[in-house]
Amino acid sequence: MRMLLMMGAALAVASAQVTIEDIRKSPDKNWLTYNGDYSGQRFSSLKQITPANAGNLVAKWVYNFEGARRLSCVPVVYDGVMYVTNTNEVHALDARTGRRIWQYKSPGITNSRVNRGVAILGDKVFVVTNDAHLLAIDRITGGVLWDREYADAKKGYNATVAPLAIPGGILVGVTGGGSGQRGFVAALSPEDGHEVWRFWTVPAKGEPGSETWGNFNLDWGGAPTWTTGTYEPETNTVYWPTGNPWPDFHGDDRPGDNLYSDSLLALDGKTGKLKWHYQFVPHDVWDWDANEVPVLIDANWKGKPRKLVVQANRNGFHYILDRTTGEFLHAQPFIKRLDWAKGFDAKGRPILNPGKVPTTGGTKICPSVRGATNWNSPSYNPVTGMLYLVVLEQCDIYITSSKEPVPNSGFRGTGSEGVPAEPGEFFMRALDAATGEIRWSQPMPGPGKTWAGTAATAGGVVFAGDDDGNLVAYDAKTGKDLWNFQMGHTLYASPITFEVEGKQYVTIAAETDIYTFGLFEPARR
């Protein structure tokens, strides 16, 4: 107790450098990347909150992010300080109290978009602006150190991604699948922002893969990179997912598979060179970005330990790949309403069901454009072997139209509308990550609005946002609903957990505010 008091008396935030080793150990008391770790598991080693006491969680503080809406950031926490973002803004908060320590607003930009959070390394936090600059900010003072443009906003480029810090590079991506930009992943120097490498997700003319586009202008291909990928330090391999080709719903002008859209890329962390790729949806005409988190897990595959990368994709299949070679091992639907493909060939190419493509008159296809899941993060508990995610069972009427493609003109080849008599249903679902089988499923009977993800903990609790603005705690093994808190907002972000002064907290961004919860304790004065 005395020690606790001493700690409470003055929590001095050391100006120690955040190291790659710290990130490898995260999430422990810290939460140091968008997904907490490099693997995308979002599995915290914290155990204070358990199924036995999760019912005692209470709100600890709420931080109103002035001027925000649709807050989509996943906070990063280091040494008792929490970094949260909105478009072109970073705020540093006392993670125990929600009191602001500093804020930085990037000057001169007015058009709004979301921002998904910061990366942290050394004495800096890194954030992208909506006009595709990477900023480095002193994590203690909030002073900006440099501002480096990495894509030309005048060409329509935008950025929302939370960067990822790996040895020698801060990884960034761009949007553009809906407006005709050429996607890329880039590593920028953590020291001064100069570009270390860039991998174009649409090849240049003559390069391998360019033959998969017909005569389409490759500068317009899309394949954006707007969510944070994952990383394996042992092999220095970056796993980065890509989005849809452009125009989203009309593929006649881009005959072929349209590499590397809707793919998972394995890139060398030092050079950006492609090690392998797997394309989830060749020649996408459904807008099924593969911008979901590729989760790196070590599990048994057919009785033998194997290094896997798994992804629950927007198209409704849970994919299991060998992460060393990219070999397709298995894909299993995690929703019931799925009819676009009936299976896969030996190489992992989907076998389409006939007639399940958008038409001018409209075709009912499952899942919906919104996706069986989306960018909102899943989490994985290596003890239960389960992947936890929020899923949507819904079909859409897909409609296509043709037009001379002009980038940044608002043209997407049309889109979709709901099936009036068949409203979508959200579920919190746990999959056996190594097979894709559904282990438990909890319905969300609310109004059907959520973009929230999940976070798993060694305490055996999984946190998730539901479709009615609740943060919910579930028993990781059984799916039992243990606790909820109504925040009154649609959720657009994924929860995190961290520890300060020996206490475990859970935080999630909710539309305009950052909410933080912890176990009840009597007030002290």
């Binding site: 003055a10 935030v13 109290t97 320590i101 203690i140």
Partner: protein, 259 residues
């Protein structure tokens, strides 16, 4: 007056579309300031923030185009206390440049002076970098000035340097905290309320404190920023320092619409 408002504000096309020929002359700011101090400060205040006459820092000046501003100064505003001034056009234009600078970021028209010499003052004789940081160089306890040219007007810079106690930047109030454990923390309160304190000390270390664990809390009167820079720096050095700080912007300045 009402008629004048209608004429000036609602029907700008009727007003002469004269352009200020000295709008981009860096020397005009200081020259204009001198003329303003002599002719206008009695009513509008030495810093143009208002006295018996209205403030010229706010939107009032911005609503007038150059020609209207010249005319208002030279002819006065009938029906108000604003008299006509028999001041040569070039001197009036300098004043207009000065007045515009009051509500525009310093980088829009940095004052004349050597930015290079100003950097030497900032990192040397002036001792500014002991507390202030630019692009990661310097101390942490004062406001970061990496973007000062874009975030501040020249007037605000001048006040911050030469009248440091006129106002203390939010989050930079000097405090001394003694904790129950006996630690003494000297720094600035980045935030505080009845329940917690977030203090950045002089070594650049952040202390997150519960108020209940604070034994003694002393707030220092005024700013940590030392007074006396009007004595410590020569006029040339002061101008050079302003020229340097005015150019601190993380992004290139994109000029707005010229009036």
């Amino acid at each position: 007056m009402r008629w004048l408002c209608v004429l000036l504000l609602c029907c700008p096309s009727l007003a002469p579309a004269q352009k200020n020929p000295l709008a981009k002359d860096p020397a005009a700011i200081e020259n204009g300031r001198q003329t303003f101090l002599g002719a206008c400060s009695a009513c509008h205040g030495a810093s143009a923030q208002g006295g018996t006459g209205p403030s010229l820092v706010s939107g009032r000046m911005n609503r007038l185009n150059d020609g209207q501003a010249l005319k208002a100064i030279k002819n006065g505003l009938p029906g108000t206390d604003m008299p006509p001034f028999n001041i040569p056009d070039d001197k009036v234009w300098e004043m207009v440049t000065f007045l515009r600078s009051l509500s525009r970021p310093a980088i829009a028209l940095p004052p004349a002076g050597s930015a290079e010499a100003g950097a030497a003052v900032f990192f040397g004789k002036g001792g500014c970098s002991n507390c202030h940081r630019i692009a990661g160089k310097g101390g942490a306890i004062g406001p970061d000035l990496t973007n000062a040219g874009a975030n501040m007007t020249v007037l605000q810079m001048r006040e911050a340097i030469f009248e440091p106690n006129a106002r203390v930047a939010p989050g930079f109030e000097a405090v001394t905290v003694t904790t129950a454990a006996g630690a003494v923390i000297d720094g600035v309160a980045r935030n505080e309320n009845n329940y917690s304190l977030q203090v950045l000390d002089k070594a650049g270390k952040l202390h997150l404190l519960w108020r209940r664990d604070v034994k003694q809390f002393k707030r220092r009167d005024g700013s940590l920023m030392p007074a006396g820079y009007d004595q410590k720096l020569s006029k040339v050095e002061a101008t050079d320092l302003l020229a340097f700080l005015s150019r601190q912007s993380i992004r290139p300045y994109e000029a707005g619409e010229d009036r």
